[in-house]
Amino acid sequence: MQFNLKLPLSNDEVKKLHVGDIVYITGKIFTARDEAHKIMLESDMKDIPFNPKEMALFHCGPLMKKDKEIWHVVSAGPTTSSRMEIFEEDFLAKFDTKLIIGKGGMGGKTQNALNKNNAVYTSYTGGAGALAAERIFEVDNVYWLEELGMPEAIWIFNVKDFGPLVVSMDSHGKSIYK
């Protein structure tokens, strides 16, 4: 099945998604790699300057360019998700993010967390960074840029019809990678 979904996702919308479905999303997404996961897990909720529950989590370290004080996305494909396996169970429990975008799949702990928190993991084609950048129409904000540098900072993007995302680990305990 193919779905065009608007973020944030409702619990029912998450439940409808199964392994093998193709999804295009419209709304806000935030990037977070290793360092951003660590910083967000160590921070108090009140110190997180955006609402992770309403956005999709994108495992991505984008290539950005600042032009006349405005940030633009040059290339922004997914990074290898398995590096975030050590954080994701706690991350989903704390922030209740409903949709993850990454590549390469994740492990058993994340699969259980997806099940428990009613969330899905989707795969975007690795390396297709130029195409992804075309679907990001606005850079909403950036956090921890000074401390973490361009790839590791948290970037908030407004996206339209971002995909194709393959549902590869669903909320029903199924994984395409097994």
Partner: protein, 285 residues
């Protein structure tokens, strides 16, 4: 003159980052013919992305890699002592101009250098030959695929069959992580470092080319077939094409050692070539 050659380095990096070599595109087109379902959507997305990157002159992948160069210096070239400076300054300039992602981080402090240079980086391999031209190949190497590299110090008793099994198992194990369909470079023999070095050098060969030694060429074909039968497929989502190619290089080994260095390259097997002439003029190919 120095400025102009630095611009040449920028142009070399830009070509590598934005235009996938035709041999790799051909292999992806072949994969498109045999894949279906989700595997086909992955190949189609890759090809659409490759087209877009070339037309819009933007890096095809946000991971623009560690800047890696193979330099063959003609010993009559008059400014040999300047070549490293040309490359390093070119990398700094390319970081801002193309742009490419700042990818050099201090392993102790975690600080990003911001300009793609640092200790030992850009990573340059030097060779020397007769003549007065300098040939430079750019091979920007992404982190996701590099993380899947593997060194096996096998027992010589396992023989070439053991080497083949090791390569097939290790490559299939990487699943979707290195962004398949991948190109695999393998160095067999030498010591630990040399086998991995040969694995990386093997990536410079065009996709579809075979080792000149018929026996090794046959092993390459056998490995391609065995790995692809594993079914991991594009992005590890299942399918017929896990590898676009396997390239093997060999070195003689110590009687007690059988090193096997596996270097994994994502589908974005980015490469570009440049020649600098003794009068300072240059071309990027």
């Amino acid at each position: 003159m120095i400025k102009s050659i630095e611009d040449g380095i920028v142009s070399l990096i830009k070509k590598a980052e934005t235009e996938l070599p035709s041999d790799v595109i051909r292999a992806l087109e072949e994969a498109k013919k045999i894949e279906e379902g989700i595997a086909l959507t992955q190949i189609e997305t890759i090809l659409e992305n490759v087209d877009l990157a070339k037309n819009k002159k933007r890096p095809m992948c946000q991971d623009t890699g560690i800047q890696t160069f193979f330099v063959n210096v003609g010993i009559e070239y008059p400014h040999i002592n300047k070549i490293k400076e040309y490359i390093t300054n070119g990398v700094k300039k390319a970081t801002k101009e193309i742009p490419i992602r700042p990818n050099t981080v201090d392993p102790f402090t975690g600080k990003n250098q911001g300009d793609n240079t640092g200790n030992h980086i850009p990573y340059i391999t030097w060779n020397f030959s007769k003549g007065n031209d300098v040939f430079i190949t750019s091979l920007p190497k992404g982190g996701g695929s590099e993380n899947m590299s593997k060194l096996g110090m096998l027992k010589p008793g396992v023989g070439i069959e053991g080497v083949k099994d090791f390569i097939v198992d290790e490559v299939i194990k990487t699943g979707g992580q290195p962004c398949p369909p991948i190109v695999v470079g393998v160095g067999i023999g030498g010591g630990a470092d040399l086998s991995l070095k040969l694995g990386k050098i093997a990536l410079l060969r065009p996709v579809g080319s075979r080792n000149k030694d018929k026996n090794i060429a046959d092993i390459e074909l056998e490995l391609i077939s065995r790995i692809n039968k594993g079914g991991k497929g594009p992005m590890g989502l299942g399918g017929k094409t896990t590898v676009l190619d396997v390239h093997i290089e060999k070195a003689h080994r110590h009687p007690a050692s059988l090193p096997v260095g596996i270097v994994i390259q994502c589908w974005a097997n980015r490469r570009a070539d440049m020649v600098i002439h003794s009068d300072g003029s240059w071309e990027v190919k």
